[in-house]
């Protein structure tokens, strides 16, 4: 994306962008640690429902089941984890663009466009699941204003969703470049950086899924 520093002397031999993305990821860890800690501190402190894991009785006497839908979120988690696999294949395809493709399998594995599309599609599917989840929560009476659970849940998962959205836009940008002039080994670093970001966002989701959804 930005002009490469290739050809410049560096002390470590690494490209500067690679170091910067790691510093960025380190900083992002503190961002999500703050969000997740707040969610956990506020767990069980809401004075009105709905609640994540407990049955809730509304003032009018209606009974509600726990609001978190673990089977559906497990499916979206699976999709997001698969996207990391696709991302690895996309990077490998870009790195090995110049290798001869003899078999049909080689051509499939070597298609950077295919795997970038797959990654972006999996990310978008995850976002679709999240949109579905948010909408159904609102229908069940949980908004960002309802209680502490609503505020901290929507903010945490919303921040993560925004990161996935940024990642999808990044992937689509790489795809646009791939269609315009073809991504090759000289672009591998750009794809590598996008991949690091993408995997990081995935890892954060594993933490969120475990701490918010699975642990009662």
């Amino acid at each position: 994306m930005s002009a490469p520093t290739a050809g410049h002397y560096t002390a470590t031999g690494l490209d500067s962008r690679k170091i910067a993305i790691w510093a960025f990821i380190g900083s992002e860890c503190m961002l999500f640690v703050s969000l997740i800690s707040t969610y956990l501190i506020y767990k069980g402190r809401s004075v009105v429902g709905p609640y994540p894991h407990e049955v809730w009785v509304s003032p009018s006497g209606e009974h509600f089941k726990p609001i978190l839908n673990i089977p559906v979120t497990s499916a979206s988690t699976f999709v997001l984890l698969m996207s990391s696999l696709f991302m690895v294949l996309a990077l490998a395809a870009v790195q090995n663009k110049d290798l001869p493709k003899r078999t049909r399998g080689d051509r499939i594995l070597g298609s950077s466009k295919l795997w970038l599309w797959a990654t972006a599609a999996a990310g978008t599917t995850f976002l679709g699941f999240q949109a579905f989840e948010f909408t159904s929560f609102v229908h069940e009476g949980l908004t960002i204003r309802t209680n502490l659970f609503g505020s901290s849940f929507f903010t945490l998962t919303g921040f993560h969703g925004a990161h996935v959205t940024a990642g999808v836009i990044w992937l689509l940008t790489l795809l646009a470049i791939d269609y315009r002039r073809g991504l090759g080994p000289k672009d591998a670093l750009n794809v590598d950086i996008a991949a690091l970001y993408w995997h990081f966002v995935d890892v954060v989701w594993i933490a969120i899924f475990t701490l918010v959804y699975l642990i009662k």
């Binding site: 930005s2 002390a11 170091i19 910067a20 510093a23 960025f24 501190i41 502490l148």
Partner: protein
């Protein structure tokens, strides 16, 4: 950097570059770390004067009992903006001016790792600074203290626009600091010249390196605290809504997890500058270099483990109080180590009492006073007597004025000749030092006493007969003396810029890499990337250092002569910064601005990322 020839492009490129470097357009589009450093220096000094004026009005009000020059409401805005301005708009950016100007020169690099990102950081800082400063003219400036304690800053207790400006302004300034920190971490790791191992880096670069790590770890925490407050204020979430079960201490914890590292973010660069000043004017290498590095690291790590000492008064319980008390006492050890190493650096040195050296020694003396009063309130029972009194105001000003500002002045007097090519007037400098020194102590030392006598912080006026009158009068006189000192400095600074004595490449006989090149340095910094064999290449280096220094000290060569490829000037980072600030300001002014700003930001960001940094090299 490639030094290979680019005959086809060279003529065109350099003509282009020089056209754009002159005039206001040149400053708006510059990506040169030295010019950005100069921009930071001038802007931060302007904000330093604004923050100082706010303090002068505060002192005018408190000069005698029952002062009523400003209303209670305006007084709240003044002390809030004094703190916010001095911390975020003056001291941090003054440090950033040195990060920008010095780090590449000290490690032997031609620029920072991401020159355009660097310009972006500066423009976000300027626009954010204007955004948060202007409201005071309309009586809607932030009024909740620089720490902005929620729930007091939620809509329920602070319905006006004041806190909105503060939340959004700080959010914007955080972007600037984070972007700069990623840039400097990468620069220091990756752009060190051959032979410049980590343990040969000048101490200023080392302390800056540690500060950048603190920035990237501390700023996300306040970002989230501010996001919660912003959502509470604009979208009705309940993060700080105690009636909904929220923890009234959530903000305090998040804020001080950022806020205490922030204190070290403010002081470590000044420590770094003094660690350049003292060896230079003692003509001796820094005493205990590795210990200085490790104590800096230890301060950085422990700095994240002391935040609750700002919260002893809330009642954390005996375990919390004890742990944070002990860690706070512990952090005094590496700080004390630094003080003793500086003193040992001077022992048996050939001391030269230049203005810079005097400010450096001033830091040692005054920071030590502030450090000792800091250790006093590391003990919770003592802290309960001192918290929220003027004793704390005395303490923070001894560490931040006596420490950071004295260090920054030492740095300005030391590096002014490198930046401008001319020396500052030493006679005026010494007058500045002494008036500043007297004014500083007269302002802040009596606050220890008014604090111990129970005068609370942040009260806008007070009755006579409580024993505070004399001490307040002394503080106010001291503050007026400081204003005189600052005027002398400003006069000296502006005068010497045009008419100072020509400095030459190394006017002080210093030993580090930045003094091997002409003053002011050429746009490419180093004609050849230096080979470094020691910590003080000009003092203890071998013939390789001498050869690099000989080539690099030559004046009058253009980048074109040397076939060095320089990055293009570009306005795009400034436009992206403008879009970002317009987007945020839309939350207050009009929703349409959010989309307008976002559109401007995204399109100009794409345009920036897809355009090359510099001409292609062959």
């Amino acid at each position: 950097m490639a030094t290979t020839a680019v005959p086809a492009h060279a003529a065109h490129i350099n003509e282009h570059a020089f056209d754009e470097q002159s005039g206001i357009w040149g400053w708006l589009t510059t990506v040169d770390h030295k010019r950005i450093g100069v921009l930071y220096l001038f802007t931060a000094l302007a904000f330093f004067i604004i923050g100082g004026l706010e303090a002068e009005i505060i002192r005018l009000q408190l000069q005698g009992p029952n002062g009523h020059i400003v209303s209670a409401e305006l007084y709240n805005q003044l002390f809030t903006m004094h703190g916010t301005t001095m911390i975020f708009l003056a001291v941090m950016p003054l440090s950033a001016a040195f990060f920008n100007f010095l780090i590449p020169l000290q490690i032997g690099a031609r620029d920072v790792a991401f020159p355009r990102l660097n310009a972006f950081s500066y423009w976000v800082y300027v626009f954010g600074g204007i955004f948060i400063t202007l409201p005071i003219l309309f009586n809607v400036a932030p009024n909740g203290g620089w720490f902005g304690y929620a729930p007091l800053t939620t809509k329920l207790f602070a319905p006006g626009l004041n806190i909105d400006f503060w939340v959004i302004g700080l959010q914007i300034l955080g972007v600037s600091s984070l972007a700069a920190a990623f840039n400097f971490i990468t620069t220091i790791i990756n752009l060190r010249a051959p032979g410049m191992s980590l343990m040969r880096m000048p101490m200023f670069t080392w302390m800056s390196f540690i500060v950048q790590f603190m920035l990237i770890l501390a700023f996300p925490v306040i970002t989230i605290a501010l996001v919660f407050l912003l959502l509470d204020r604009f979208f009705g979430t309940q993060f700080y809504e105690t009636a909904a079960g929220a923890d009234p201490l959530l903000w305090q914890h998040l804020f001080w997890i950022f806020g205490h590292p922030e204190v070290y973010i403010l002081i470590l660069p000044a420590f770094g500058l003094v660690s350049e000043v003292l060896p230079t004017f003692s003509r001796k290498p820094l005493f205990g270099y590795p210990v200085m590095v490790y104590s800096g690291m230890l301060i950085g790590v422990l700095g994240f483990g002391v935040w609750a000492h700002h919260m002893f008064a809330v009642g954390l319980g005996p375990i919390g109080d004890s742990v944070f008390s002990l860690v706070t006492m512990l952090i005094a050890i590496p700080t004390g180590v630094k003080i003793f190493n500086w003193i040992a650096t001077m022992v048996q040195g050939q001391l030269r009492f230049t203005t810079s050296m005097m400010f450096g020694i001033g830091l040692i003396a005054l920071f030590t006073i502030g450090g000792i009063s800091g250790v006093m309130h590391s003990s919770p029972p003592a802290d309960l007597q001192q918290t929220d009194t003027y004793f704390i105001v005395a303490h923070i000003h001894y560490v931040l004025f006596g420490g950071s500002i004295m260090g920054i002045f030492a740095g300005i007097y030391l590096y002014f000749p490198k930046i401008t090519g001319r020396l500052m007037d030493e006679k005026l400098g010494k007058i500045h030092f002494w008036i500043n020194f007297v004014g500083m102590n007269l302002t802040f030392f009596p606050m220890h006493f008014s604090g111990m006598l129970g005068m609370p912080r942040r009260i806008y006026t007070y009755d006579s007969g409580q024993g505070w009158d004399t001490f307040n009068l002394m503080s106010s006189i001291g503050a007026y003396i400081l204003a005189v000192a600052t005027l002398i400095f400003a006069y000296n600074f502006l005068k010497s810029r045009k008419r100072g004595e020509i400095a030459g490449s190394n006017p002080w006989g210093a030993g580090t890499l930045e003094w091997t090149i002409p003053s002011p340095p050429p746009e490419y910094n180093f004609a050849v990337l230096p080979t470094v064999t020691s910590r003080y290449p000009l003092w203890e280096g071998d013939e390789r250092d001498a050869e690099s220094a000989r080539i690099n000290s030559q004046e009058g060569k253009t980048a074109e002569d040397l076939h060095i490829v320089m990055p293009y000037n570009t306005i795009k980072p400034a436009i992206v910064a403008g879009g970002l600030v317009i987007m945020f300001s839309g939350l207050i002014f009009a929703k349409a601005l959010i989309f307008l700003g976002a559109a401007l930001m995204v399109t100009s960001l794409y345009s920036w990322l897809l355009s090359p940094l510099e001409p292609e090299h062959h």
